[in-house]
């Protein structure tokens, strides 16, 4: 059952990343069109910078969950890699709990900030006057998705820890190792690490 939820979260976060990437590309297109229109037609549709700022803030939080599920959070593993599996598994869970603590404080205050913007009808002081709750909602939603993922992953990993299933803990939240990267590769999941692009480097 837990594995099933894990899978679903993975699918949701993957979609979030696709949408975010597409939005980023759309922002690049918008800025480019703005620049060209300004140069060659003499019109400015001011605001492409503001909109792409919002796209950036939202897409970044939307990607956190994907980053977590693919164990891409930056961790210093100089000593970690020398440790026996049970100790490493404990550190994995501790790290996860600390990250959860940090992000829950963040998300709590982000919720307050969003609530403030909603209640007092805040608008940006630029020519667009964008109501701030709209971009903040997307931003906050990404943080919530991340927090939900964190809660789930932490619980799942803690449970596995008590079951002394070190392998599973490592698979959920450990620092990726060779074998796991290979496995990811066979599932066709982890594209960056497993890219076949370099295979014929010199040809």
């Amino acid at each position: 059952m837990l594995a099933n939820i894990h899978n679903r979260l993975e699918i949701v976060s993957r979609w979030a990343v696709w949408v975010g990437g597409a939005a980023l590309m759309a922002a690049a297109l918008m800025v480019t069109v703005d620049v060209l229109a300004r140069k060659f037609v003499g019109i400015t549709m001011s605001g492409s910078d503001e909109y792409s700022g919002y796209v950036f803030s939202a897409t970044t939080t939307w990607a956190y969950s994907f980053c977590l599920l693919h164990r891409s959070n930056v961790r210093i593993d100089a000593f970690y890699s020398l440790l026996p599996k049970p100790v490493a598994a404990c550190l994995d869970v501790v790290g996860c709990i600390l990250l959860f603590y940090y992000m829950s404080v963040m998300t709590y205050y982000a919720g307050i900030s969003f609530g403030n913007s909603w209640q007092s009808n805040s608008v940006s002081i630029t020519t667009l006057g964008t109501p701030q709750w709209i971009p903040q909602l997307f931003w906050f939603a990404g943080l919530l998705l991340f927090l939900i993922t964190l809660v789930f992953v932490t619980l799942y990993a803690t449970l596995s820890l008590f079951q002394r299933n070190w392998e599973l803990v490592a698979k959920l939240i450990g620092v990726p190792s060779i074998a796991e990267v290979m496995e990811e590769e066979t599932h066709g999941q982890d594209v960056v690490l497993a890219t076949g692009d370099g295979a014929e480097g010199t040809r």
């Binding site: 590309m25 803030s57 370099g198």
Partner: protein, 432 residues
């Protein structure tokens, strides 16, 4: 207190707690101890305010640009061409690594993107041609750092933002030092391979026919460089906007190679978003830590101490260099710039040495950031290169392999301080 902070930080970092959580929780603890815990309430407001800044949009844009270049096979073709031209040197393909990184750096503003792109293409060669893995990996990590010195550059944009220095002037100033540093990297490789010829791997056969035949493969990066940097000097776009233009041009190039498709885009998005998330989670935590440290007056106290020591300008500069080399071992570059430059910059400007100008200092800082990228324990480029090792291995391999290149960087820093015009000559020709 400072000792407590350092020890606590080390324990957490060495126990492999995610760096973002380390920085965040350290901020909470400092706030609780020194400021009655009232600063923590500012966490999300500061995050939101910074995260919608247009200038930061350049970060994912440059990463996306790199992803498209990689997945459209543009990077691989370029690497193939550079091999033809550079691999006759002792050290073979490692020179192609540096050369490709330099060319790639001229269209990308990100060191991470540069190291990841060239690294992914080059990595399989280690086994195939029996290179010394450490040195080879080190050349990738170090070559990647050129991404922020050779224009365009995310770090120079941020430096310009923080100090009101002209970004186009900074870009011009980065060209010569960037090329010189690439040269020094190659000297380091030649030196190492003369010392131990076996490190240099199996020789690659090259010939003039292939050299000429592969020349067109160098064209896409040149087109990208022209689009990104050219649009700035032609007065079409601001340096931040140019990053977006670069993405569009990269897409057009990919389409012209018939490698633009749905799957390739999806993969690029995944790679871009994951790298962006990885970096930004740390950057925002670091910005908040900066806010807490700023209120506590720790950063200011440290630098006031330097300012009060009564040193000569040159001594002060070398002290600042030492400060950044030390800090750079532990901090991520964007957050290090954001936290220290508002304080260090005025000190340098107050030295009253005309050669030590705002543009010059921008290049010096960028060199120091490059060093930070490849010094352990926290060196983002070391992680990136570790990340592309599909056959795995110890993190230490990359860190040790990078040492000769850190030495090259130190040389370059001394050159820049002794002859500031290395950086300032070109922008002075164009602008003054």
């Amino acid at each position: 207190m400072v000792i407590g902070i350092v020890v606590g930080l080390l324990v957490l970092v060495l126990s492999a707690v995610p760096v973002a959580a380390v920085l965040g929780i350290l901020s909470f603890v400092l706030d609780e101890v020194a400021m009655d815990g009232r600063l923590t309430a500012a966490l999300a407001e500061i995050y939101w305010d910074k995260s919608k800044e247009f200038i930061l949009v350049a970060v994912p844009m440059f990463i996306l640009l790199g992803e498209i270049m990689l997945r459209a096979g543009i990077a691989r073709r370029m690497y193939g061409a550079v091999i033809q031209w550079l691999s006759w040197l002792p050290g073979g393909l490692m020179h192609a690594n540096i050369g490709s990184c330099t060319i790639f750096a001229a269209s990308s503003g990100s060191s991470v993107a540069t190291a990841a792109t060239v690294g992914t293409v080059a990595y399989p060669e280690i086994e195939k041609r029996k290179y010394n893995e450490r040195l080879f990996l080190g050349s990738l990590a170090a070559g990647g750092t050129l991404g922020i010195l050779v224009p365009p550059s995310i770090n120079l944009i941020i430096y310009g933002l923080l100090t009101d220095t002209s970004v186009p002037e900074l870009y011009l100033a980065g060209i010569f030092p960037g090329l010189m540093l690439a040269g020094l990297f190659m000297v380091a490789i030649i030196g190492a391979c003369i010392y131990r010829p076996s490190w240099g791997g199996v020789k690659v056969e090259t010939n003039w026919t292939d050299r000429i035949r592969t020349l067109p493969d160098l064209l896409p990066p040149i087109v990208l460089f022209t689009a990104v940097v050219g649009s700035i000097y032609a007065g079409i776009a601001t340096p931040t906007e140019a990053a977006s233009i670069g993405v569009m041009v990269a897409l057009i190039i990919a389409a012209s190679f018939k490698s633009l498709n749905f799957k390739m885009l999806r993969d690029s998005f995944e790679g871009t978003m994951r790298t962006t998330a990885m970096i930004m989670l740390i950057v925002f935590a670091a910005i908040f830590l900066n806010f807490v440290l700023g209120f506590m007056g720790i950063t200011q106290a440290m630098l006031a101490f330097i300012a009060d020591m009564g040193l000569t300008p040159i001594q002060t500069i070398y002290l600042i260099v030492a400060f950044y080399l030390l800090l750079g071992m532990f901090m991520e570059t964007l957050s290090m710039m954001l936290t220290t430059i508002p304080i260090v910059f005025p000190i340098v400007m107050k030295l009253g040495v005309p050669e030590f100008s705002d543009v010059w200092f921008g290049i010096l800082i960028t060199l120091l950031m490059e060093a930070a990228l490849i010094t352990p324990p926290i060196g983002v480029n070391l992680y990136v290169v570790q990340g592309i090792r599909t056959r795995g291995g110890k993190f230490n391999d990359v860190a040790i392999g990078a040492i000769p290149f850190v030495v090259s960087m130190l040389f370059m820093i001394v050159i820049l301080i002794s002859w500031p015009s290395v950086a300032t000559w070109l922008p002075n020709q164009v602008y003054h």
